[in-house]
């Protein structure tokens, strides 16, 4: 990697102008998009640790039922329900969303399109404050009488609507309120992202000059905005059912419980793509830079993203094949579900074609990007069995489903995040991360991740159902072979959590002691590498002008193998 840092330049172009702001206005009430991105990122990382701790506790309970869990104590059935519910909710709404959409969107969009800040900086700050409030409400809900909400993260009524079933009279409405506030936060953020990208791009940046990751975050924001309305409506109805005693989802009084499933999954399925697309974008950026090759078929990737976005609104009922929906409808949703794998597969092929013939550099960021492709592929392929309404009748609500969506969400939320952090860390903090520790972290994480979820596929095919507190109560599922697989998965989970310690140390040490990064340590083309590292308030000393598409690597006849977007010739 020595040649990659030869263009190191110092950050002196920036001259102090407004003087030193105090701690509060600099770190807490900043309207600077980069500071808001950091706030989202660190909140997301803390929530990831909480979510990971929950996973540790209930995995221990499943491997060694009834025994005291070190660092927690004995897990009661009520606590188990609350742990699995909040693990799911936290990992999706308070980890994947803030890190992939909010942190990366806030950090990257203004820098990559060459503007000084978001078009609505104060709305942006409000967005984070609402998000923080939602996180505080969620964490507070663990400590109210009855504990945190225990009706599963999908919150199906009547289990979620009536406290005599979920036994969490205070946790349930607080959970719902936290989720609703979190949506408001991302709504404000999403409007900002879309408007900024449409109106504030650097001069000369045409539609096809926008980096793929910016496109992906913007399209993800559009998907989010188009799908979240129905869930807000559904959440208001559920909240009224819980608090006021209305009967929207109560079948005894003429309500319809399946209605919630439609409203939830109408949002819930596009949501998968809301978090997938930014991760795909990050991987595209990293792969082109470290393959030193032009991104293969930029326009095809863009169009397949549009196709994915549109199709994602017509697949939601594949979550409900056994909820009593019309079998004819199930056929239609099988077709649309299998159809959506085509644009995503096409995207993956484009990425692999980008690698073909490139001079690949296996940095930690690149390793994570490559593992994203492999692991997400497993998640995608196993999804085909679940999308087909015939096989799904058997697989529904088993650990096969659980392993499948962890093979999609783990690459998205965790591998995607690590790819981004190892790649953009020099830009975020002006210092390089240690590559050796990065690679130890990489191999530890990837091997252990497969160790957790491959056995769960087997258990799922063996009929093991989700959301069961103690398998000893089910003789068919309590065989020694199955228990061995559970124990193996649990130890893998513990090992994976332990392998995050090198990352946290590497991150913290590099923050203060890492090698100084220049403006452009990876020799990349996109505009964020034109700004100093870390970029000051206002980003660019001179606003950049764009002359070409973002992926002109190894252009024949040029001395250097990269060609920044802002370079006139």
């Amino acid at each position: 990697m020595a040649e990659a840092v030869t263009t190191a330049e110092t950050t002196e172009g920036a001259h102090s102008h407004h003087g030193e702001p105090d701690f509060w206005s600099k770190y807490i009430f900043s309207t600077d998009h980069k500071m808001i991105a950091m706030q989202y990122m660190f909140t997301g990382m803390i929530m990831a640790l909480i979510g990971g701790y929950m996973a540790y506790v209930f995995r221990m309970q499943l491997a060694f039922p009834g025994e005291s869990v070190p660092g927690y104590g004995t897990v009661t059935p009520l606590a188990y329900n609350s742990l699995i519910t909040n693990h799911g909710a936290i990992m999706i709404f308070w980890v994947a969303m803030p890190i992939l959409i909010a942190a990366l969107g806030n950090f990257l969009i203004p820098l990559m399109i060459g503007c000084d800040d978001m078009v609505f900086p104060r709305v942006n700050r409000l967005s984070y404050q609402i998000f923080l409030l939602s996180a505080i409400i969620l964490i507070a809900s663990f400590f109210v009488p009855g504990g945190g909400f225990g009706g599963a993260w999908t919150a199906y009524p009547p289990l979620s609507a009536q406290s005599q079933y979920n036994l969490t009279p205070f946790g349930a409405p607080m959970w719902l309120l936290a989720v609703a506030l979190e949506f408001v936060a991302f709504l404000l953020g999403g409007i900002n992202f879309i408007t900024t990208t449409m109106n504030a791009r650097a001069k000369g940046m045409k539609m096809y000059d926008i980096p793929i990751v910016v496109w992906m975050i913007v399209i993800a924001s559009i998907l989010f905005m188009a799908s979240v309305g129905p869930l807000i409506a559904g959440a208001v109805m559920l909240l009224f059912d819980q608090v006021l005693g209305t009967t929207f989802y109560n079948p005894d009084a003429g309500g319809d419980p399946v209605l919630w499933q439609h409203l939830f999954w109408f949002f819930g399925h596009p949501e998968v793509y809301v978090v997938l697309l930014p991760a795909m974008g990050v991987v595209a950026e990293v792969i082109t830079v470290f393959a030193r090759k032009k991104l293969f078929a930029y326009k095809t990737i863009l169009y397949t993203t549009f196709a994915t976005g549109i199709l994602s609104f017509f697949v939601w009922a594949h979550h409900q094949f056994i909820a009593g929906i019309d079998p004819r409808m199930a056929h239609i949703f099988t077709v649309t579900t299998v159809l959506i794998s085509i644009p995503i597969a096409e995207m993956l092929f484009c990425y692999i074609a980008t690698l073909y013939g490139g001079s690949i550099r296996l940095t930690t960021a690149m390793l994570f990007a490559l593992s994203f492709l492999a692991e997400f592929l497993i998640g995608g392929v196993t999804g085909i069995y679940l999308g087909a309404s015939g096989t799904d009748i058997y697989f529904h609500d088993t650990y096969f489903v659980l392993a499948h969506f962890h093979y999609t969400f783990f690459p998205i939320a965790i591998i995607g995040f690590f790819t981004a952090i190892y790649y953009w860390f020099p830009k975020m903090f002006g210092r390089m991360m240690n590559e050796t520790w990065g690679k130890i972290h990489f191999w530890g994480t990837i091997i252990c991740f497969n160790g957790i979820f491959l056995p769960l596929f087997v258990l799922g095919m063996g009929g093991q159902h989700r959301r069961i507190y103690n398998f000893n109560n089910f003789p068919d599922l309590a065989t020694p072979e199955m228990q061995d697989l559970r124990i193996f998965a649990t130890w893998s989970a513990v090992a994976m959590l332990v392998f995050q310690i090198p990352f946290l140390i590497n991150f913290t040490v590099s923050l203060f002691k890492g090698k100084k990064a220049g403006k452009n340590p990876w020799n990349a083309n996109t505009l964020e590498w034109v700004a100093p590292s870390p970029p000051p308030h206002g980003n660019f000393a001179e606003m950049p002008v764009v002359y070409r598409a973002p992926y002109e690597y190894s252009v024949p006849g040029r001395e250097k193998d990269y060609w920044p977007q802002n370079m006139p010739d």
Binding site: A14, H15, S16, H17, E20, P21, M35, M38, D116, F120, G190, I191, N192, I194, T195, M198, N199, A200, R201, A202, K203, M205, I222, M225, A226, S227, V228, G229, P230, L231, I232, A233, G234, V236, M237, F240, L244, G245, T246, T247, F248, G254, G255, D256, L259, H262, L263, F266, F429, G430, P534, P536, H537, G538, N539, F540, A541, E542, M543, P544
Partner: protein, 198 residues
Amino acid sequence: MESAFIENKNPGASRVTPFLPNGVLAMIFFVAMEVMFFAALISAYTIVKSGALFWPPPEQPRLPVTATAINSLVLLASGWLLFKANKSFSVKGGQEAATRLLRLSIILGSVFVLFQGFEWVRLIGYGMTMTSSTYAGFFYLIVGAHGSHAVAAIFVLAIMLGKLKKNQLGQSEFWASQIFWYFVVGVWPVLYILVYLN
């Protein structure tokens, strides 16, 4: 992060030409989200209604169809007045007429909301509450969602009126707030037909 500020050399001039002003664009996306929100309420209502044996339930009071129809015309008139106010605002010297029309539009909008509230009080008096039936729950949910949007929009228009009087109103913020009010006015006939004329 370093705190050094950079003085941009005229950042606005180094951008692409915007397609629409920022505020208008943001409002369009917000309204698109609101359309989906109301679409969800409407479809939820339609699904539950189609599965019910009796709709409306026999023991529940009938809704004031005619009075609300007249009230709907008041709301539509308010939207039309806002449109006229914008026309006056965009011609030179039309500020006074615009102020008058905008004030009248706000008054008519408020009349609509107040009359809706008056209807609610009467219906509650007849024993129709959020919990008395799923039918009543949906009625208050949908009409209430619309009413709260109307209150918010009237509040925004009142701020615009204050700015207009002080001659500080910008064209794009006026457009953005108009889009919101047109949405509130435009969605109402749909809700009226679905909820009142069943």
